[in-house]
Amino acid sequence: MTAPDDSLETVRSVTGEGYKYGFVTDIESDSLPPGLDEDTVRFISAKKHEPQWLLDWRLEAFRHWQKMESPEWAKLNIAPIDYQAASYYSAPKQGPKSIDEVDPELLKTYEKLGIPLSERAALAGVAVDAVFDSVSVATTFKGKLAELGIIFCSFGEAVREHPDLVRKYLGSVVPQGDNFFAALNSAVFSDGSFAYVPPGVRCPMELSTYFRINAAKSGQFERTLLIADKGAYVSYLEGCTAPQRDENQLHAAVVELIALEDAEIKYSTVQNWYPGDAEGKGGIYNFVTKRGACRGNRAKISWTQVETGSAITWKYPSCLLEGDDTVGEFYSVAITNNFQQADTGTKMIHLGRNSSSTIISKGISAGRGQNTYRGLVRVQPKAQNARNYTQCDSLLIGDRCGAHTVPYIEVRNPSARVEHEATTSKISDDQLFYCQQRGLSKEDALSLIVNGFCREVLKELPMEFAVEAQKLLAVSLEGSVG
């Protein structure tokens, strides 16, 4: 994408002015042509009017990335990605002009998920002037938070308004060179969320990209940073049940959580991105790096995820249990149907004393889906009295899918107590028939049994997500029996 040196000279001489950022593309343009090099990074940073330190940070990440190779160790079949073939900054596409132009299948899904009529048009990308009282609701919401000193805004806004906070914590949990996709994200991230909860403050409401609509427009490379100061509490919701398409296939987000002494962060995700068609074509690649640091003593971080979408899901929301008496939790439901693949799990790293972690993973495979749980429980030598409980259960529907479990347990302290349980089961015909004989249709029976299977995880979700998640499970497994 970089113009050869002599033409750059020519342009410079003709216009008589130096290009501030050293590249040819017009910064006024709204999108970049495909390609990724240092100038792409500079363009993105300039577009956002970022300070020099952040540009430098991005460039450092980019240089790391250039030296790295895409990891191959997962149990995933990934078609090679051409990183030069995508645009890393583009204007949003024009959506359908009215709800009549929206794919009826999509509308049917909204119906099944129980999404209110008033939200459907906006969700589908129809430009509506005033869907509902969004402006005033947002204002009330922000006002309440401001009163308590809670900062909740876009990442970009945080860089402008609270640069010291961002600078202090960015990359402190997931450094630029952590892994291939984190490095890419660190170089070209578009936007994301930022939250800071001051000492002793309990955030009174669930933080989320507050409406479904905003969540649906999530970018390709999101960067999220949440900080709970001493004694603070925050519950954050990410994602939405509504299926989302995207022009861009690769989604590589990074989420960093920091919980200081006595603080608690609860992070819940519901993900239903386009999984590809019934033949396995298309579909989003969801390669995310999520990590939380329980920095202070008695800090607690809890991850809950319901992953039903994407063609390929590759993520390990993890906890670094740095302080003493810290707690890490991971609750997960991952569904793979048709040709979906998932390699997901968690890493619980016990560093401080008396740390404890709980892992409950429920994998459901149907169709030709391949579902892998990969988990690491590591107890470092100084981690006195560490405790872990892991339960990973797989449910297989039909006879063409796969469920795999790859648990790693690395214990370097003899006082540790680590428990691991795993079950693999099929939906039994007897269970289905029992439900049918009581008057439930096959689909309702399946939904009932699957929700029963996932109960322990679903009950960790905040109420509004829990109800949607149940419906989402049923919708995701449609057509998998009978």
Binding site: Q431, Y434, Q436, Q437, R438, S441, L448, F453, R455
Partner: protein, 250 residues
């Protein structure tokens, strides 16, 4: 209510088990079907309820004037057919109350009746629980999970009491029950007798019929009903055993 004519059925992957069953059950009646092991008693219940794995090769079954065999298992259930399972299956993570209410409301929707809300449902549940002497804690548990054999059978009868079927098929409901449990289950079944309801009990032993008096008793042997009579037939069987019917346990 139920007319079975020349019913032949086999295991989808195997041999013929029902070899020409004729049976007529009217509303308000209680029938008992007895027979030696392997005679086809449970198969009959399975075929009538629509359990997968069986194939009807000949014959007709008419239920309330409809062709029963043309309906799916859940359609048959919503039309008012209830099967008390011999071996009720466990469904982990699915709460008993939640399950029962979903089933109840599925039937009500089908009949165009209003669904019960949680409060109304709970009231109805409490009343029936008392009758069957089932503790309320049983209902906080998942369907049949951790239930003893007797508890499972009582749960079946409890569900029957809540769902109020038109035709109840009780598949060896007495097997594995001690005297007290048998008394309670029978009490529950007897409380369900009604002029618009038919009950068909499948059992090995005459003992159940002391508690639940049948109007008709049939002996199933070798896939056919070889003898029908009233409750005295059961007493005769008890004395002489199934060998009195020559035999044909396939």
């Amino acid at each position: 209510m139920l007319e079975i004519k020349n019913l032949h059925a086999k295991l989808s992957e195997g041999r013929e088990i029902l070899k020409g069953i004729d049976l007529s059950v009217k509303a308000g009646e209680v029938h008992a079907i007895m027979g030696p092991n392997g005679s086809g008693k449970s198969t009959l219940a399975s075929v009538l309820s629509g359990k997968p794995g069986y194939e009807v090769t000949e014959g007709r079954v008419s239920y309330q004037g409809k062709d029963l065999l043309a309906l799916s298992a859940d359609e048959r259930a919503r039309e008012g057919i209830f099967l008390a399972f011999q071996y009720p299956v466990e469904i982990p993570g699915v709460n008993n109350m939640y399950f029962l209410r979903a089933a109840l409301n599925a039937g009500r929707r089908h009949r165009g009746e209003a669904e019960l809300d949680a409060g109304q449902f709970l009231k109805a549940v409490r009343a029936k629980l008392k009758e069957l002497e089932i503790g309320e804690d049983l209902l906080q548990r998942a369907v049949n999970v951790g239930f003893s054999g007797g508890e499972k059978k009582r749960n079946e009868i409890f569900q029957m009491a809540m769902l109020e079927p038109k035709l109840a098929l009780l598949d060896e409901t007495d097997s594995g029950l001690d005297i007290d449990a048998l008394r309670l289950v029978s009490k529950g079944v007897n409380a369900q007798r009604a002029p618009d309801r038919a009950i068909v009990m499948i059992t090995h032993y005459q003992r159940l019929l002391d508690y639940i008096e049948p109007d008709h008793v049939h002996v199933l042997s070798g896939g056919k009903i070889v003898r029908s009579g009233d409750k005295s037939l059961a007493t005769e069987l008890e004395k002489h055993g199934y060998a009195m019917f020559g035999d044909a346990a396939a």
